[in-house]
């Protein structure tokens, strides 16, 4: 069994034993059974923020580069999907989410803070933190970034509106 698969199976085992409330992280099932390389996850918006009540569906794909060390087999691609309809929504209104839906987060970037020791749990908690604490130094889309920079109150109102209409 290659390192990546055994690593992910162990993560899943730990997750079942204990995970933060309201979060979901499980490998997807297809006609062949469970695909440990693709996970369906749910990140809840943090309480007492504009994102409170939001339920974000996140898909994590682990690339199948399994012959290298864990470092190489574990960079991550995340997509945020709109929860209620399951529709792909490029982009989520957030300064650090690309128009493609990919999240720009340092811990997910191999050239930045990615470490093999980072767990799925840390990634999902990181995404939850990022929701309400965008990094204005690394914009990934213009619309959310501009409003965030110009008028934080209007930005928060917009987020609440989106959460109410689409993500609750």
């Amino acid at each position: 069994m290659n390192l990546c698969i055994s690593r992910l199976q162990e993560e899943r085992k730990q997750w079942r034993r204990d995970h933060p409330f309201g979060f979901v992280a499980k490998p997807v099932k297809n006609e062949k059974g469970v695909d440990i390389m693709k996970w369906s996850c749910v990140v809840p918006g943090k309480e007492k923020t504009a994102w409170e009540g939001a339920i974000l569906k996140v898909e994590i794909s682990f690339p199948e580069v399994s012959y290298k060390a864990p470092k190489m087999c574990f960079p991550i691609i995340c997509w945020i999907l709109l929860s209620s309809s399951g529709r792909f929504v490029p982009p989520l209104f957030h300064p650090n989410v690309y128009p493609s839906g990919t999240i720009c987060l340092s811990i997910l970037n191999e050239d930045e803070a990615w470490k093999p020791a980072i767990t799925v749990k840390q990634i999902l908690l990181g995404i939850q933190d990022l929701l309400d604490e965008p990094n204005a130094d690394s914009p990934a889309q213009a619309e959310a970034y501009n409003l965030f920079k110009r008028d934080r109150e209007a930005y928060d109102r917009r987020i609440r509106q989106i959460v109410r209409d689409h993500l609750g």
Partner: protein, 98 residues
């Protein structure tokens, strides 16, 4: 293939008959020991009784999927140590289904 196939647990029939299930609403945790074939209704009622909640005011989720009272650990492929989450029932919103 089920999720457990890659590392098959040693089949111990006697021990395997019961599971310890954690039920939590984010604040309180209650542990239950139930048979694999027992309907989860029993556990849901017990949790609501103990925490003073009405069964209609909450929903139970396992791995993000809503649990029906007629489900059992067997039908949901639950393992020893798994968690049921109790969320406030809400109108209009739906949890994403996978």
């Amino acid at each position: 293939m089920s999720e457990q196939d890659a590392t098959p647990p040693p089949p111990k029939q006697e021990e395997g008959a019961h599971l310890n299930i954690k039920v939590t609403d984010g604040n309180n945790e209650v542990f239950f020991k139930i048979k694999k074939t027992t309907q989860l209704k029993k556990l849901m009622d017990a949790f609501c009784d103990r925490s003073g909640k009405s069964i209609d005011s909450v929903r139970f989720l396992f791995d993000g999927t809503r649990v029906q009272p007629t489900d059992s650990p067997d039908t949901l492929e639950m393992q020893d140590g798994d968690t049921l989450e109790v969320h406030q029932e809400q109108v209009g919103g739906a949890f994403p289904s996978f």
